[in-house]
């Protein structure tokens, strides 16, 4: 779906590469969490994925289409992006107008537009708010409207660039649940950028960035084995993983490494009923 072949990008020749000879491959319908400390190159990678930036060296391709000056416009239609601050993403006076904005820009006929807007709002469960002013919504609701705006364009990939960072804990949960829900109803590749590893636990695979390079890639359970190494590059494994590693050192072995509290409690329950 998305392929990077030795991609480098430099904002400033004097300061080295923000993305450095990066090669990666993301499959269709994969949910990738892209993690790394502040400044490790995540947003630069995101912008190279949707053609907001063109590589200084190397090649990017999206569903077989190589990224270049001639194709970046088409690639942007394939790869939608949701940003950190929902406020800055709003332009319309109602939720519906707002979702329609992207389509209008692309010159869609009115009838098709109305259909797409309605179905996108339903997909994120915000249809009931269609006539409201976006600035009256909660943070989580605003992000859902921003997602609807992207869904309406029907991209193949959605990138969430720290889209949960400014949300409170409820808003974060709401965002993750919305993505989970979307994945159930439609095929879609997700790139979820975060430095919160408990959010990354939801992904099929985690790609860890460090200093513009891919530092590791693997299933959440595999990546969370590297607690000390991750901490050296500024990251922290989820609390539940830390607690489990303490238990493990003191003789408690569970069938599978727990990623969430429920997985831990359920397995402990099973274990203790056998004891």
């Amino acid at each position: 779906m998305i392929e990077f072949n030795k991609v480098s990008y430099s904002y400033d020749k004097n300061r080295g590469n923000a993305v450095d000879e990066l090669s990666l491959f993301i499959e269709q319908n994969e949910w990738i969490a892209l993690i790394g400390h502040n400044g490790s190159g995540k947003s630069t990678v995101a912008k190279l994925m949707n053609g907001l930036l063109l590589p200084t060296e190397g090649n990017v391709s999206v569903s077989g289409l190589p990224l270049s000056e001639d194709t970046y416009w088409d690639i942007r239609k394939k790869v939608g992006m949701v940003f950190q601050n929902p406020e800055n993403q709003f332009v319309g006076t109602t939720v519906m107008d707002d979702v329609a904005f992207g389509l209008e820009n692309l010159g869609f006929p009115r009838e098709e537009m109305v259909k797409r807007v309605a179905s996108a709002l339903k997909e994120v469960d915000m249809y009931a708010f269609k006539d409201q002013a976006p600035n009256r919504l909660s943070g989580g609701q605003k992000q859902r409207v921003a997602i609807a705006g992207i869904l309406a364009i029907m991209p193949e990939v959605i990138i969430f660039d720290e889209a949960s960072t400014m949300l409170d804990p409820n808003g974060k949960k709401e965002l993750l649940e919305t993505i989970k829900g979307l994945r159930k109803i439609k095929k879609m590749t997700i790139v979820y950028i975060t430095h919160d590893l408990s959010e990354a636990a939801y992904a099929d695979r985690i790609i860890v960035m460090n200093e513009g390079k891919q530092w590791m890639s693997g299933k959440p359970r595999e990546v969370f084995q590297y607690r000390d190494e991750l901490s050296e590059i500024g990251l922290e494994i989820p609390l539940i993983s830390s607690i489990y590693s303490g238990m493990n050192k003191h003789g408690v072995k569970l069938e599978k490494e727990p990623l969430h509290m429920k997985e831990l409690v359920d397995q402990l329950w099973k274990l203790s009923s056998k004891m």
Binding site: H37, N38, G39, Q84, S138, G139, E162, T165, M166, L167, D168, P169, N170, G171, H195, D196, L197, S231, G234, L235, E236, L239, I240, S242, I243, Y244, S245, G246, M247, N248, K249, H250, G251, V252, M261, L264, V265, L268, W269, L271, S272, M275
Partner: protein
């Protein structure tokens, strides 16, 4: 400086169609040297309350007392000297860094307050050390710094006026785990070494549990709970009703107590120590 709120109401744009009451009859007391944390979902009134602490907003009714200063509905001319004593680091302070160099940014407060500039400059190295920035950042542009460093510059700009109270509105929002830990331990050391009163707004419940000695819970502009963090977090259901969670380790302890009857308590142990406690409780249970 003790901080006291007595029956404070605050309404934005009163007597207009947009009028909105953001604080409702708030009464509270924060003792000198406390580390107080304010929690509540977005829009519950946390930032509005903080802005009463250094006179950016004045109560619509009621009284706020900070040491000898009294803030009421009436204008108070001593507001500048209050602001020197009560330093506020706003949410996303990097949006408010605007000078050409870090040095000028840090010295903005002293200049604004008409302090002795030579003396303020003299203090720069000490302040930088306190916040953990190298002296060579002084001549750099604040925009070249990382997110965590920009937060430190903002904190330095407040510390240089030598406040007694330090207020931080979500100071770790958007920082990566390392940056967040570093800022939290910087605040801890200011609290302990300089005996500053700390007032923190955060969504990270585990930081409240680990660092604060008082927690205040706001919901829809009302102060609905207060007390030591461990006590406040015992009321999981009540917090859930107003859209808040408790720290994950306490959630786990509660569930293990309920589902498995494990006698585990929270005593500020680290996550891996908690894991050890759980392992031991399981083994003890199994041998019975």
């Amino acid at each position: 400086m003790e901080i006291v709120f007595e029956n404070v109401d605050f309404t934005y744009q009163p007597n207009s169609p947009f009028s909105h009451q953001a604080l409702k009859n708030i009464s509270l007391r924060i003792k000198h040297g406390d580390y107080a944390a304010f929690i509540g979902h977005t829009g519950s009134g946390k930032s509005t309350l903080l802005q009463h602490l250094n006179g950016i907003l004045r109560p619509t009714s009621g009284t706020v007392r900070i040491g000898d200063f009294e803030l009421t509905t009436k204008k108070n001319n001593a507001i500048k000297s209050l602001r020197r004593k009560v330093g506020v680091v706003f949410q996303y302070p990097e949006h408010q860094l605007f000078e050409e160099t870090v040095e000028r940014d840090i010295l903005f407060g002293p200049k604004n307050f008409g302090m002795d500039m030579e003396e303020a400059k003299h203090k720069l190295p000490v302040i930088l050390e306190e916040v953990g920035l190298p002296t060579d950042v002084l001549q750099r542009s604040p925009f070249e710094l990382s997110g965590g460093q920009m937060r430190r510059v903002a904190i330095a700009g407040v510390l240089i006026t030598d406040p007694n109270v330090l207020i931080l509105d979500e100071p770790t929002a958007g920082l990566d785990p390392r940056g967040r830990k570093q800022i939290m331990s910087l605040i801890d050391s200011l609290h302990k070494k300089k005996r500053m009163t700390i007032i923190l707004v955060t969504h990270h419940m585990e930081d409240v549990l680990r660092h604060a000695n008082q927690a205040f819970v706001l919901s829809e502009g009302e102060l609905v709970m207060q007390g030591e963090p461990v006590e406040v977090f015992q009321e999981e259901e009540r917090l859930q009703d107003i859209g808040l969670g408790i720290p994950e380790e306490l959630q786990l302890i509660n569930q293990l107590q309920q589902a498995l009857g494990l006698p585990i308590t929270y005593h500020h142990q680290s996550p891996s120590e908690l894991g050890k406690d759980i392992a031991q409780a399981l083994h003890a249970g199994g041998n019975r």
